[in-house]
Symmetry: C2
Amino acid sequence: MNTLAEENYLKSIYHLSLNDSNVSTNQIAAALNTKAASVTDMLKKLADKELINYAKYQGVTLTSAGEKVALHIIRKHRLWEYFLVEKLHFKWDEVHDMAEEMEHISSVELTDRLDKFMDYPKHDPHGDPIPDRDGKFKKNELQPITALQVNESGIISGVRDHSALFLQYLEKQQLTIGKKIKVTEIIEYDQSMILEVEQTKIHISREAAKNLLIVI
Amino acid sequence: MNTLAEENYLKSIYHLSLNDSNVSTNQIAAALNTKAASVTDMLKKLADKELINYAKYQGVTLTSAGEKVALHIIRKHRLWEYFLVEKLHFKWDEVHDMAEEMEHISSVELTDRLDKFMDYPKHDPHGDPIPDRDGKFKKNELQPITALQVNESGIISGVRDHSALFLQYLEKQQLTIGKKIKVTEIIEYDQSMILEVEQTKIHISREAAKNLLIVI
DNA sequence: TAAAAAATTTAGACTTGTCTAAAAAATTAT
DNA sequence: ATAATTTTTTAGACAAGTCTAAATTTTTTA
Ligand SMILES: [Mn+2]
Ligand SMILES: [Mn+2]
Ligand SMILES: [Mn+2]
Ligand SMILES: [Mn+2]
């Protein structure tokens, strides 16, 4: 059906589309660790297959066929991440690269049975929503904790940075999905925040705070 | 490390080696549904990587490095087949093609944890032994039921033909792994066999009998 | 609004894995 | 032991996906 490379391009375009409605060649090249010239070549192929809308120099958007493919890959990625953490007991910072391979396993029946086996999880280990077999999911209404004032609270529900380094840092600070946090102080000098999590106080930089998402 | 194509070649060479010590170019081409010329090209690459012993026109054998790679792929193939049948409740004739994709998932840690998750199964759904992480496994001492005389018994433990058609046929006849069978009659005319399985009599052709393996 | 800078595309090349057709080697038959 | 047949390898080509360098277009700056 679609090649591995095509699938990876569609997935990247989907993710980049969440921030910018038109995705540029250079953005895709950066995301996929490749060169702009290679991206241009692939965009022509994807446009021929009517998976993207592409006009030279104008950037791209996914067609609804392309979005469907992208969401199916993302569904598989997140289901396998959930499997790896919940069934095989990997840590949340260990599963992304494995899921990058597993998301390309093609069987739809397998995907649906995996979903059932795990009792239809709604979110992956990083708090990202898992699309159902039709590609539908509830959009997370998450905010960075920098949106909170002193004495306001929220529940940790996602991350903006998925790097192993950040995830490990959060784990060490007990700042994991589902934990309730309260802002006890915002340091005026550098806007860093002091949080209360399960009776302990934790000091995090504004940089980290921007990447930690909560539901209020 | 090794490409998907390289892995498939090594696996085929391993399987063919079980019947013939030296594997020919044409045998590999037939097994992989490709052309002899393509095989020759790949054999040169695998020989350069010291995964096979290859001398022009002489056929090939795996080096011990090559065998190690092949056994690791086969380990993954059989573990995933077991997973698909035991955890996701697929039928034994449905899992092979999915496992052909899943066997290329690279993480060794994932493979070992999957093994543990399923409590270290020794055989896949078709009765084939699952190599451990060092590539070791007990060689099955199986015989086709054609080796039995009238009134002799055995336990169904494997198949020689893995096609969905044969597996579905066996399933329908209740001839599944673990069942005890007794030969009640061998028809002189065509050597077909009448078996007793759980109080019922089943008539199978010699052709089918040759592909059904038992332990005595 | 014209020049400079940045982004994007084109041109041409390379790698992997495949193919067909032709040549060479090995095997089988007479 | 030679001829015929089969097997295997070589030669040359092609598609997918990538790259560098050069050309083109768009955007920014002055
Ligand atoms: Mn991930
Ligand atoms: Mn994730
Ligand atoms: Mn199989
Ligand atoms: Mn099997």
